[in-house]
Symmetry: D2
Subunit: 463 residues, 4 copies
């Protein structure tokens, strides 16, 4: 019940469990969003391998929910066990890093030494492959713990590799009520909103007014149709990219990005080159999109030509090493919503509103051309205690072929990881679109990567 | 909002074309609904083989839109040609009777003479079969006329056999934007609302709050899940039907219905017997449901046991023969909404609201177990210029098998009709679940039916 | 080649295990065929619940293999345990009766009392349903015993319900190498040979020269194309059945069959009526075919019209009660081959010959329109240690629809039996094409049948 | 009837039409095989754009069929029109070069200049792509001419790109009776025969005794199981390749091949590396296999490492320019069979023998995981007037994924070519596994290739 408001109809209450509840950014952002937006109250239970970090976030939560602009009321606790955290939860939110940042050496540096260029390296390519091998057993455990402690809870996953983590939850527990969320599509909607503003002079467009049909797999999702207020935005977009020099070489910008350690920027040229070539718009950041096909990241020079750069392992280490801010920081500044949609999704599942948005779910036919059970990203209707996919419009056939091969790699990797079979995992790696190495060189790379993490993998049950 | 009000944001305007615009009930109900509910204005163009009837409806429209409770403004005209009616339409509504009522002699009386019991005889069984043979060529013509005159219009079909008529529109013109509407599911929602009220004491339930997952084909649709305000209604329904005597013999009621010529009533026992046997609720009236399986209408005695009776051919003739009311009748009484959803659908397609409801559309994966392209009934999201099916939850496997065989019959009949091939049509008839006649007797019945309409069928191109 | 001959290339040897090895007809016929035809030697191990019967067959085997016309050499033993029988087998042959003949009362008499007409009642309909419920657990046990004792053996099943028994073997042990054999298709080839002789004057036609494409499920299999020596036989067959009175009422013949207790005869009119109506030839005896659709066995009068009669329960009892012949009978008369193909199949699997014939196997695509894993009957190539299905030509769409619904019933019954779930089994029964009873009457019949065998079913694990 | 033999049963006679009948090698080899092997007689009709070449082959035919070792009798004629050649044919054999050798400049040299390495360049990759664009319209014409002149003839295609040419015949005329033949699988059987000899000491193995399950598409076909005389050959093959240095760097051999212009040799290391990595054996020459994945032909250095070299355009020109031999050459030397199977196939289709072999046919389910209608290579049973595919054992999932993407490219290219749509063709090219160029560079290459042949493509109807 809101402290500010004395309404006759009581506000609903629920319990949230957050796995990865000690995180510096993500868990705090969710609490901020709950504070300033939630139409419900309740309790939050934080679980983290780093229990101290979770306890610090409990302290921070007091500052956040104590802010004058807070409209909701949540009691926050840090729990020492996963089971304790999950017990009685209505919603479970998972946002973890699979292993300490140092493990990413194997994801990023070893492939680099073998000539594989990975702008991100967490969803696909050798980096996503190794990260998937680490994450899948962990998510199997999460699934089992959830079904043991809160089998009716909705599970919201934010962890990458999104597709494989969500897939592993269902592989371990087919009755689990889980979905994966990612904000990359929102970025695409932002860009399309710009088209609506510039080309048609529309004003005050709310993001959901940019209606997009979504089809594909996370980080390799596509917009096949986009409308705003009844207007088809694709002709205007086609017009825009047909201008001379639109696709000019961006190597100079890329180099500046490297110099300035601004690794995340782009000109969206990859997204738009896919649009130009295949008739559907890549609906994720260029850093992600470039990893799912062999053409853009074939070598670093080519990647730079598109204005995209790799986020280096060194940066991952550095940004992790930064000193955390103090608890009181959170008491001092006004809270702004994060732009994520978690709170709205929970509200819809509580029956407080309708929400139609994109989501990652096992394919039960919503993307009819893709394999059954593969986790796909499409639109869905969030209603009280239900998430029903909307039937996705089909991908253009070439885009479909590109997505299919990515699904093949993911399914092969999933099977290998479920069976803890590293030979099968090696076989899956060859199929990855980023792999154009000679097979013996690819095998050597895989051996080096697996060897680097052999203790961790053995601990997860791989043989 | 009303026409009297001068708002700064102008109301949208559009043009509706009504095929079957001379009808006594249906066209007038739509105009009434437009008058009292529509958030838009425009013009209506009526087309009917009986041009006089259409002209009378123009007169009536003046009374309807002249009523004080009218909030919208429509200019209504009767057109002498289909092309003239369609030209420039934004929406086309089709509600026709395929041929004069006398043709129904062959649909109803000849099968009866051969021992086939048909409560309705317009959607399936020998009656639906022959009616489909008549309707399909007509709907092919409609589709071509629409694509020639108003290719971007949304086409709303209300004609039976719903599945085959809608299917024929797409068979003739794959790019047509058509869907079929039927209110039978609303009746099921009404009944489920009763469960919510009685078992849980809920009050003031609006019909859309009874959330149902719909899957199947028109008039043989099923509810596989039903919730109201977050409460699962199926356990209460199971409780209700488990009471002693719930399924008691209703022959006495059936006889009374026959005596009193109250052919349309039922106790919904067929719907609930399906629920009891197969775990999903038949989501149409018992008269319809009973025709899609061999068990209830195996003979008239069995049909009566369930409280269901046949609507006789004689009644069809009589009710057609009744004198029409005068034009001024419509000026005298306050207008009530009809309960149909056509106006809301148009509003949603105009971008004036969101609407999630059930609809008949070609299967593009929304019902993944049923054949591609077959017209299926599922939920869909109506948005501005789009109707996107929601992915239907699967039918229980037995119900799925029952629906599959109905789809097989429909697809076989469609192919036969498109090819104007009466031998293929005969072959399709054997597959109908109502046919348990010996094959020679069924063949004789088919011959008699086709022979009775041989002039009409020849005119439609059958050989 | 014979045992008397001392060739330099030794004859191959193998071990056969026969489950149901005490049978009066079937096991003895196989031994006779082995004696006069087999190009290999070895040992035979007989297992039967009635161990005495198996021992008697051992004695008989000595007479059979001692006949002067015997060309092979087999050592035959009766084993007291299934495991002992199977140990080391290269081939396992299964031909059992699921339970004593008295159990067939429930299969045959109870449905009859409820108005269901079953000419055979062992493959489908209520009789096949109950028999399937009994057989499936037994075949699960067989499969497990085979994989435990002789996992590389080929398993040849002759037991009805053929489809469900073979299906159960694979359901229990997916790696089993089993197939089902039935001679009904040979009967169809015989009849087609007659067409080739009569219409084209061909002489000395060997049965394999009548080349037929086979598709469907056992006892409801279809010939979609038939050629002999390059000549298409279907036009001649069409000509034959188009003669006046070809399909005349055969009630008089049927009555005579009943009077004379000649229950197995027919005029093949059902097979040919299916051919006339649907363009493919029913490839089993009329008694079987009539049970898979609702038209021929709708009542006994209709069945007789086609010249087909029911084999009564009383006859099953009587023929079982007949005194067995003496052991020495088998020493006295010359042995003739039985017309079965078991020996040829074994020879082909041993690499001694090529054999292309029809067979029942899980569908791995050989019948692309039918569900994956369902046991279907198609042609297959028997080669050394391999049985590879030939791709079946598709069924005409109407025949396909009829077969589909049969597969649905079988798959539903299989699931129910595997789960030992009698409620699910009841649900499956409603789907059977022979069921046109009112649902309450069908439910009562099912209850009576299950009640009659409740001890046996409980012993099999049903609850 | 054979001149040498005076049998009472007359030899069958038939008419063969050969499109590409002026070819120096292929047409002559077929005539030689007919001369020394055929169990039938008849006439041969040669058609070639180069009519003189066809007429020369008529002269040569007289020498061939006049040889003392000739056992058959064929009358050979050269026809000036395709229709004249086809009229009345029982068999049509197609073996053409799509366009003069000079056109191959665009297939081979332009991709090379853009950094794409193509060992062969006629089946896939940019070379296969452009060749396909040229061939598909031509094969559409052939199909139409065949259906107009000899609709019941069997059509045997030997032209590359095999898959696309055969596919185009069916796309233009779905009722055509065509299949594609390729001897690459025989080469794999030869190699496996060596394994059987070396590892098991088997002797006198006839090639068909090496029984292989075939699945995939032409030139990217796989052996998933191989047996000889009941012995599984894969363990021995695995043993062989596990020896140290088996996969040693073969750059030195490759360089020698280049120096000596022996472009066609290889160590089969690519085939065996696929076997090692994916568990199924690549069943074509390494030069072909290397083109269907991105790993071996990523650059010329990598290709040489596997001992494979590119056949250069210059060699194609040279070998074409060689002077033809004289007519009388064919009268002087004894005729040896070519190793091709065309004569045996024709004999089987005439009903003279049974033949089980590999063949390229539209997928009607024989390769259940691959798309319907795609032309796939599997085993098939050749019988009188029928070619029935055997159901293929499934590919390992990784190999399946690799084949799938190849099928996607082929289907996309086919659609583009059928529509004469060069934009769609450009889109298809990006999907090719050999394309790892940046998209702008790939687009530039495509433009250069299409531009080089713009007159030819325009003549074929491309716009």
């Amino acid at each position: 019940m809101s402290k500010k408001q004395s309404s006759s109809s009581p506000r609903p209450a629920c319990k949230l469990a957050i796995i990865g509840g000690g995180s510096r950014y993500w868990a705090r952002d969710l609490m901020k969003d709950l504070a300033v937006k939630a139409g419900f109250d309740g309790e939050i239970s934080l679980y983290d391998l780093n229990h101290e970090a979770a306890r610090k976030n409990v302290e921070i939560s007091k500052r956040i929910f104590g802010r004058p602009e807070a409209v909701s009321n949540f009691k926050v606790r840090a729990m020492k066990t996963l089971a304790g955290c999950l017990k009685g939860a209505d919603f479970v939110v998972i946002s973890i890093e699979p292993g300490p940042t140092e493990l990413r050496y194997a994801d990023l540096e070893i492939p680099r030494a073998h000539g594989v260029v990975q702008p991100v390296g967490d969803s696909t390519g050798p980096g996503g492959w190794l990260r998937g091998l680490r994450a899948i057993p962990v998510f199997e455990d999460f699934a089992r713990a959830i079904m043991a402690n809160c089998p009716k809870a909705w599970v919201i996953n934010y962890t990458n590799p999104m597709t494989l983590c969500t897939r592993a939850l269902y592989a371990a527990e087919p009755e689990i009520k889980a979905f994966g969320c990612c904000h990359e599509v929102f970025g695409t909607q932002h860009r399309l909103r710009g088209v609506a503003q510039d080309a048609f002079g529309m004003e005050d467009i709310r993001l959901p007014e940019v209606e997009v049909n979504i089809n594909g797999v996370n980080h390799f999702t596509w917009v096949t149709e986009a409308h705003c207020r009844g207007v088809d935005l694709f002709p205007a977009l086609r017009e825009r990219i047909s201008q001379p020099d639109f696709f000019a070489d961006r190597t100079r910008d890329a180099r500046k990005r490297v110099r300035n350690k601004r690794y995340f920027g782009s000109h969206c040229l990859v997204s738009l080159d896919l649009f130009r070539r295949f008739g559907a718009l890549g609906a994720a950041g260029d850093r992600h999109l470039a990893e799912f096909v062999p053409w853009y990241a074939r070598d670093e020079k080519t990647l730079h030509r598109w204005g995209v750069v790799c986020t280096p392992y060194s940066y991952r280490l550095e940004s992790r090493g930064k000193k955390d801010v103090s608890v009181d920081t959170y008491a001092q500044a006004a809270i702004n919503p994060s732009g994520e949609e978690g709170v709205e999704q929970i509200e819809a599942l509580l029956g407080l509103r309708h929400l139609d948005t994109n989501v990652n779910l096992p394919n039960r036919g919503q993307s009819p051309e893709l394999p059954w059970d593969a986790v796909v990203e499409t639109n869905a209707a969030f209603r009280r205690d239900r998430v029903t996919p909307l039937l996705a419009h089909p991908l253009p056939s070439s885009a479909h072929s590109l997505v299919s091969r990515v699904v093949d790699v993911q399914e092969a990797l999933l099977s290998a990881a479920l069976a803890r079979d590293l030979d099968a995992a090696r076989e899956a790696l060859f199929l990855d679109p980023l792999i154009t190495l000679s097979t013996d060189r690819c095998a050597a790379m895989a051996d080096a990567m697996l060897d680097h993490l052999k203790i961790e993998l053995r601990a997860l049950g791989y043989t």
